[in-house]
């Protein structure tokens, strides 16, 4: 599934059921080289996600060059390795004030 933005908002939907402990977590993927187009990033992400069943793309943002993905915990290392050093792979952590 490829949608922009809405699903990448953590906890915004109050009706969202509580996730199980092993529920997939959100991550951001962005190229280290800012000149890499978003399409290239998306292709690389889709290939990497094949290493982790149950993972999916949640959104991509052309302006920031960031692709948000959801990956089961067991597949995080595989996805990170598959992306390689050309991409940053960070948790899409919740912010607080």
């Amino acid at each position: 599934m490829l949608e922009c933005g809405a699903e990448a908002q953590i906890g915004a939907a109050s009706s969202e059921p509580e996730k199980a402990l092993d529920a997939p977590k959100q991550f951001m993927v962005a190229p280290r080289n800012a000149a890499v187009p978003i399409e290239t990033t998306l292709d690389a992400v889709k290939r990497a996600l094949q290493q982790a069943p149950g993972s999916r793309v949640l959104s991509s943002d052309q302006k920031t060059g960031i692709v948000v993905v959801e990956v089961p915990e067991a597949g995080v290392d595989q996805v990170r390795n598959a992306l390689g050093s050309g991409f940053m792979f960070d948790p899409n952590a919740e912010l607080r004030f």
């Binding site: 949608e3 922009c4 933005g5 809405a6 990448a8 908002q9 953590i10 906890g11 915004a12 939907a13 959100q26 951001m28 962005a30 280290r32 800012a34 959104s59 943002d61 302006k63 920031t64 960031i66 948000v68 940053m88 960070d90 948790p91 899409n92 952590a93 919740e94 912010l95 607080r96 004030f97």
Partner: protein, 597 residues
Amino acid sequence: MADQPETSPDARTKPATAKQNGQQEPAAPAAAPEKDIAPRKLQYMFAARRGANLLPMAAGIEPAFDAQQVLEALQRMPEVTIVRRIRPSSFSVLSAGPSASQDIIVATTTPEHGQFLERIAHPGMIVERDLLLKHLSDLPTATAQRVTPARVVAASIDVKFHVQDGAGQPVPEAQICVYTGNGGEAQAATDASGNATATVYGGYLNDVVALYVKPHADLWERFVSRPALSADQPNVIVLKRLGEFAAVQFPANPFLGWGQRLMGLSGENGGALTGRGAKIAIIDSGCDNSHAALTHVKLGRDYTNLSASGEPNEQSWTLDALGHGTHCAGVITGNGQNGQIRGFCPEAEIHVLKLFPGGAFNNLAAAIHYCIDNQIDVANCSLGSDATSEIIQQLIQTAREAGVALVVAAGNSSGPVQFPAAVPGVLCVSAVGQQGEYPADTYHAQTAEPGTILVNGLFPAKFSCRGSEVKVCAPGVAIISTMPGGGYASWDGTSMAAPAITGSAGLVVAHHPDFANRQGPRNAARVDRIFQIVMGAAVPLGLDPTLGGVGLPAVPHALLAQASNAVSTDVFDPNEAGLQAAVRQGLSAGLAAFGLA
């Protein structure tokens, strides 16, 4: 053992409530009860110290402890309530004195009077706290606190509250938090009648360690340590109007919070320093621009409300369900008109970028990109995370290279500076408080740790994160600012400190000659220069740099000193001795206005 003796029999336990038994909840009281809630009294035991008669100081043949005499003495003290007298079940052959000397008197009194009695007690008498007992099972916390639903129901107490102001008017929308000794927390919110019911688990109201009541607006919060809660009667909580505490000078026309005044804003210089020309972003929970102080705020994006194509909504940023962004906005840009708050930059161009509730790193990335695209000068980030992100860190550097100065709150965990405040290239802000700027019965008073209060009454807020990343400090305790719906509220946090620095940086951009007409290239040097001027205007408070950075900036004084010194200094030098002296003089004037100099 816990330290919570009971004060009345009904406070110890309470059977399952009518609600739990499936019965109708009794109606809320029509008339507000009379008595405001107060701290529980402490329970003490008075007994003979064995072998006391052998003490050299024991006088004559009198026993060191005569229970009857002690009982009579305590009964004459108005602060003391006798609970019981415990007599020994049989005469012990080992006892050296009369049987009465083996009695134990149990009584309650105020903490202050109890301490007094402990101090003056005869050496032959033991005066000590009567403490609740706990199970001795030394289970891990997570296991010990896991309770079955059936047990929860059986051990829960529905505690009723009625929150009102000093005139007896009910206070709706007040949040009530009841904290128990086992780490539990019960919450409730008052209805339109000011009534609320909080279900406290554990079965012992004497295990309640604190009660916190946070009104929505226009009233002081309330914090009661060891509250004397009743399980049977509604517990009345009386909140003071903000204006009832005269020291804060609220309301006023314009209203200047203690932070604004201490940092150099005043009625005299307010007309000259408006922030006109600066572009400031507030990355937060939105901003209610229907507030009379914020009607000039017209621009924003809501990153919690995205279109199908991923574009942020351009209207819903005005809805601020949390109040946090609106509070920050008041300090940054309150217009100061008709009795409203006067922020640092009332005429700056404000861009509200809404991330909360539910904001994540990718939303922050989008907001920072907005700042880059729209040539924002200063962005306020009163936010943070336990996690870190190389992507965000890289983006922050990109923003800096594009001339966007990010001011970030250090965090409120009392620990190391959190992300992204710890990222190089941002201006990390810690929080300080000021004694005398809040009523003693508020949680604000709890943010000052003993031994940390400076001679001028300022103190590092105990919640403020610390570390070498802290660049400056700013007022962040009992900060009165705007709330959604039109009122004002007093909040704590590094979130409240950062806006004061953001506003100060906005003044630099708007009024310092280096940035006149927003001239010059937008690059990292520009950001560094803004931060240099802000930090150069700081006066050390005597705090450890990991707590307070270089000190508290007084940017208005620095700018005015710069303006009056324009002939001799074409280039602003924050390290110039004369200017530093002027800043110090200005801050001294601010301190003097507080009676602190």
